[in-house]
């Protein structure tokens, strides 16, 4: 081994603490990148495989009642690979001890054999047997939430008739990865059931003998979905077809897609920021490390080593650290990605996992860190090379503080000698100090942005359920009906306020951009459920026109003043042309608001309501619930507290859960930065401190020179970090926002306080570690060996 390589190894060993700290910063940056991309691609692959293995339909065509023979017509359509009819409908589940009625969806399975499409994944018990009409399969999530097991009996109310069924098996299905009670945004396993029964039983229950009310289709490879949808609509039209839709409009799939794409947005938006900060740190640290080697660089050059040989030596040092960090990061990233995928597996209820890795993030992470590190090294090397060896070797000689003598005698009298040393150094080597300051500021910004986003999640919930939705209970009716029912609700003792709503399912279209959702018809000045503008002021419902949630306007690529097409998916299914008159900041979901009278007018159905928001007296809630439960027109009752809890859960276990992981990583990076800054300062000051000790300063007095410097740099970094954090928060908040919820970007005072505390804590800890080391330093060897 050449002496230079041996020097390399010994140098590495000497700076191992710092090398590990730098390596760790790179490692977590790369870890994050690898983990996130691995997670996203794995989830996507897994979903795809799950869909394929259980033959999830690609087209869903709801219809009022179509005779079974129509299925063969559908199957014969060009571009259709398979078709199947089934019976499906709403039901209520009566669970003992539950004050509220629980909604359920009944889905038929063929009497004999496996379904051609939309098979179920049996997790317990057995499949349905033949045409036994009292057997059902129950969605596992619901069963778990209520402690139901095969063998138990479940009481269902279908079309007013109450009947007991025997649970023979528990199942999951790619079709119901997410179940959301109608009218709610966040999924909740406990409050919505999916029940599979034999076709015969379902036909009897829904009075659809010999007929189906939903067609499932899969498409031939390369077939055009639009063409298939058109053709299906044409065939089903005479039977009350309600417009076929593709997988992208399927509720559960959309939810999963949204969550995965939320993760993807995050994986492309957030890790680069982290990696960027890590790279910047690396640049600063390496440049200062090489700077400290100035004298030895001069010496090597004096012996006749040329720039390339010297450069290569330091490049190797950089590579070992950067590559060490990057490789560790990759390995940990793979492990973490795998572990995270395992967690998400449960969350998404995938029955298996296909772990997928792409080399892209691996290479990107690797190159970024090495580039940043070598840039830092090269930058300094070039400066050192520009010096003659004689000058480079003189670096150990006292730095030139001559210009700093002019502090003024007033200041000199005020400060003691060590304080002056601190001040001089900071003013005389502003380049280094600015580098250190920017490093710490970047660390603060990263943690600060993550803290801001964490509080943004709380803010979203707080606004959505405290300012936007101020109701206690939401009631949905079985169908749109006369507003006389509002009086009936208002008469229930304990109901303080009733506010009508008309929800109209619709496809919103602007040119080629569409969104399948609903129009919320609200009273002009709602009190319980309101549309808010960006200042959180309520928006009055305009006499005509529609107000869109901001993300919805983005999806549709439409702005106020333009015309929106509303293809109503209810009743006569008219197409409406309505101007967009405003944007709302709704934070949850992507609603579209209209004046209730205006939408009713447009539908030529005056005075109709589909639900109501209630404000109630909490002490009478039990009585109110039981009254509601017994009203035949009430399809569902949702408590805001439940909804809030479901949302909290969604944010804590879905894509949003990543915020905890990322915040942790941000703290690691921030600490790494602060610790490195302290270590470098220590290395640069070692001799000074030893000299001070020798001439009689105590340990504390001597380390004050170092700790004072760290303290000043940290304090100066705080305001800069706050500004950086402010801007960083926009990027990070956007990364965490999705169509399901938006996270407001705002770096508040409390966030700054928290981030500053984190940085100060890191600073104190680093200072303590460094002081512990300097106290232990062997004075003689510190003075002897030049660094």
């Amino acid at each position: 081994m050449s002496p230079l390589d041996r020097k390399l190894l010994r140098d590495l060993w000497r700076i191992k603490g710092q090398a590990i700290a730098i390596g760790a910063v790179i490692a977590v940056g790369v870890l994050m990148l690898v983990m996130m991309t691995g997670l996203v691609s794995s989830l996507e692959e897994t979903r795809k495989a799950y869909y394929e293995r259980y033959r999830l339909a690609e087209v869903f065509a709801p219809v009022t009642r179509a005779p079974e023979r129509v299925v063969s017509e559908l199957a014969a359509l060009p571009g259709v690979a398979a078709a199947e009819g089934r019976v499906t409908g709403a039901a209520l589940v009566d669970i003992e001890g539950s004050a509220l009625p629980l909604q359920a969806r009944v889905v038929s399975l063929p009497d004999f054999g496996e379904p051609k499409l939309n098979d179920v994944y049996l997790t317990g018990g057995r499949r349905l047997e033949g045409d036994r009409t009292d057997e059902i399969l129950l969605l596992q999530g619901f069963a778990d939430a209520h402690g139901l097991v095969p063998g138990d009996t479940l009481r269902l109310t279908v079309r007013g008739a109450r009947r007991d069924f025997r649970i023979v098996g528990l199942a999951q299905s790619p079709e119901f990865l997410y179940v959301t009670a109608p009218g709610e945004l966040a999924p909740d396993d406990a409050r919505f059931a999916v029940i599979w029964m034999s076709r015969t039983a379902a036909e009897a229950a829904f009075d659809l003998q010999g007929a189906f009310n939903e067609a499932l289709l899969s498409m031939a490879r390369g077939a055009s979905e639009a063409a298939v949808l058109d053709a299906v609509d044409r065939i089903l039209e005479p039977y009350g077809g309600q417009t076929a839709y593709g997988l992208e409009d399927h509720v559960s799939n959309r939810f999963v897609t949204e969550e995965i794409s939320g993760l993807r947005t995050m994986s492309t938006g957030v890790p680069p920021i982290f990696l960027g900060v890590a790279a910047f740190l690396l640049y600063i640290v390496i440049s200062r490390m090489v700077e400290a080697e100035r004298e030895q660089i001069g010496l090597m050059k004096a012996f006749g080593y040329n720039n390339r040989e010297v450069g290569l030596h330091y490049f190797k040092l950089v590579i070992v650290i950067a590559a060490g960090g990057a490789v560790t990061g990759c390995l940990l990233g793979i492990a973490a990605g795998n572990a995270m995928a395992g967690l998400y597996l449960e969350y998404f209820k995938f029955p298996f996992l296909i772990f997928q890795l792409s080399p892209g993030p691996f290479i990107i992470g690797f190159l970024t860190s090495i580039l940043a590190a070598s840039a830092g090294g090269l930058f300094v090397l070039r400066r050192v090379f520009a010096l003659t060896p004689a000058v480079a070797m003189r670096a150990a000689a006292p730095a030139d503080y001559s210009g700093a003598g002019a502090f003024g005698s007033a200041l000199n009298r005020l400060l003691d000698q060590p304080s002056r040393m601190v001040l001089r150094r900071i003013t005389r080597q502003p380049g280094r100090m600015v580098g250190a300051m920017l490093g710490i500021a970047a660390g603060l910004a990263l943690s600060g942005a993550m803290i801001a986003v964490m509080s943004g999640f709380d803010e979203t919930l707080g606004i959505a359920f405290g300012v936007i939705d101020r109701s206690d209970v939401t009631v949905t009716f079985t169908d749109a009906r006369s507003d006389k029912i509002l009086l009936e609700l208002a008469r229930i003792p304990g109901v303080k306020h009733v506010e009508p709503v008309r929800m109209v399912p619709a496809v919103l279209r602007n040119g080629l951009k569409t969104h399948r959702g609903a129009i919320s018809g609200l009273v002009p000045r709602p009190r319980l459920n309101r549309a808010l503008d960006s200042d959180l002021d309520p928006i009055e419902m305009p006499g005509s026109g529609v107000i869109l949630a901001r993300p919805l306007a983005d999806i549709l690529d439409i702005s106020p003043g333009e015309m929106l097409t509303i293809e109503v998916r209810e009743g006569r299914q008219p197409d409406l042309q309505v101007p967009v008159v405003g944007l709302a900041d709704s934070l949850l979901g992507s609603p579209a608001y209209m004046d209730i009278a205006a939408i009713n007018r447009a539908l030529k159905e005056p005075g109709r309501v589909s639900g109501a928001y209630l404000a109630i007296d909490a002490s009478q809630s039990e009585a109110i619930y039981s009254r509601l439960k017994n009203m035949p027109t009430v399809a569902g009752v949702h408590l805001k507290d439940n909804a809030r809890r479901s949302f909290q859960q969604l944010m804590d276990s879905g894509a949003g859960a990543m915020r905890y992981v990322m915040a942790l990583i941000a703290f690691v990076i921030t600490f790494g930065i602060v610790y490195n800054t302290a270590r470098i300062a220590q290395a640069e000051r070692e001799r000074d401190i030893a000299s001070l000790r020798v001439i009689g300063f105590t340990k504390s007095e001597a380390s004050f020179v170092l700790l004072g410097e760290i303290a000043v740099v940290t304090l100066l970094a705080l305001p800069i970090g706050a500004v950086l954090a402010f801007f960083l928060t926009f990027g990070v908040a956007a990364g965490f926002s999705s169509d399901l919820y938006q996270i407001p970007a705002g770096f508040g005072r409390a966030d700054f306080g928290m981030a500053a505390l984190a940085v100060l804590a890191a600073s104190l800890l680093s200072g303590w570690l460094v002081k512990r080391d300097t106290d232990r330093t062997d004075l003689v060897s510190a003075l002897k060996s030049k660094e």
């Binding site: 050449s2 004096a302 006749g304 000058v391 002897k784």
Partner: protein, 246 residues
């Protein structure tokens, strides 16, 4: 005193170093330090040359410039038929690698390399180097080869520095106060090594020293003061290091 033009041209073909009006100014304006004030000097090859002068007179500065470690502000510095002032950085590097050995005033050992490895650092890139162990033995350090600089005394560090300089068998050896930190016995031993290098390898040896007695072993003694040459004395005979008064 000023050397005549004729003498310079006569010595030209055989001078290994020749400077003409060599100037070095550190800093600018009022703070400018004139370290060298137009030095004219001729050094023939194969000699032991001793440079004497008070502290701050510019000895190290001169050594650095003709050693290719630094550049003058003005004037010429010839190494044989090449003007160092005209060389690029890369050419200076090659010049140092191929011709020059240094012993620095402050030793300048690599702290993370052992004595032996410090020597190897130079032998690695030399054409026909000695064995590092042999070089260390020459300075009497064969027993401390695996010690790090921090484990060596000042004098031992200096001897490592000398071993490192001679190990490449350089054509020119620059020694900035090679015996400053040594007692008389090791000091003499070090001087003996330098003399041996001069005799056996034919290296030109330039020694900067405060110990005036060292001048007795030189072929030529240059008295330096205030950034310029005061006097050049050629010794008829060279004393053996053993005879030098310490």
């Amino acid at each position: 005193m000023p050397v005549s033009q004729i003498e310079i041209s006569e010595n030209l073909h055989e001078a290994i170093y020749r400077t003409v009006g060599l100037t070095k100014v550190y800093g600018e304006g009022a703070a400018a330090v004139h370290a060298l004030r137009g030095v004219d000097l001729v050094i023939p090859p194969g000699e032991i040359v001793v440079l004497l002068g008070p502290s701050g007179s510019g000895k190290s500065t001169l050594l650095n410039i003709i050693g290719g470690l630094d550049r003058g502000t003005d004037g010429e510095a010839w190494f044989e038929d090449q003007n160092l002032a005209d060389m690029s950085d890369a050419e200076l590097t090659i010049y140092r690698r191929d011709n020059v050995g240094f012993v620095f005033q402050f030793y300048n050992l690599m702290p993370s390399l052992t004595a032996r490895e410090n020597v190897e650092l130079v032998t690695e890139i030399a054409d026909d180097p000695m064995d590092p162990g042999e070089a260390l033995a020459l300075v009497g350090l064969h027993e401390r080869t695996d010690h790090f600089p921090a484990q060596l005394s000042g004098g031992e560090q200096q001897r490592v520095a000398i071993a490192r300089a001679i190990a490449k068998r350089p054509r020119v050896l620059f020694c900035d106060e090679p015996t400053g930190a040594l007692d008389s016995k090791t000091g003499r031993a070090v001087l003996k090594v330098l003399k041996e290098v001069n005799e056996t390898l034919g290296s030109t040896v330039l020694i900067v020293t405060h110990a005036a007695a060292t001048a007795d072993m030189a072929h030529r003694v240059i008295h330096f003061a205030d950034g310029d040459v005061r006097e050049v004395i050629e010794n008829e005979t060279q004393a053996d290091p053993d005879e030098i008064e310490w």
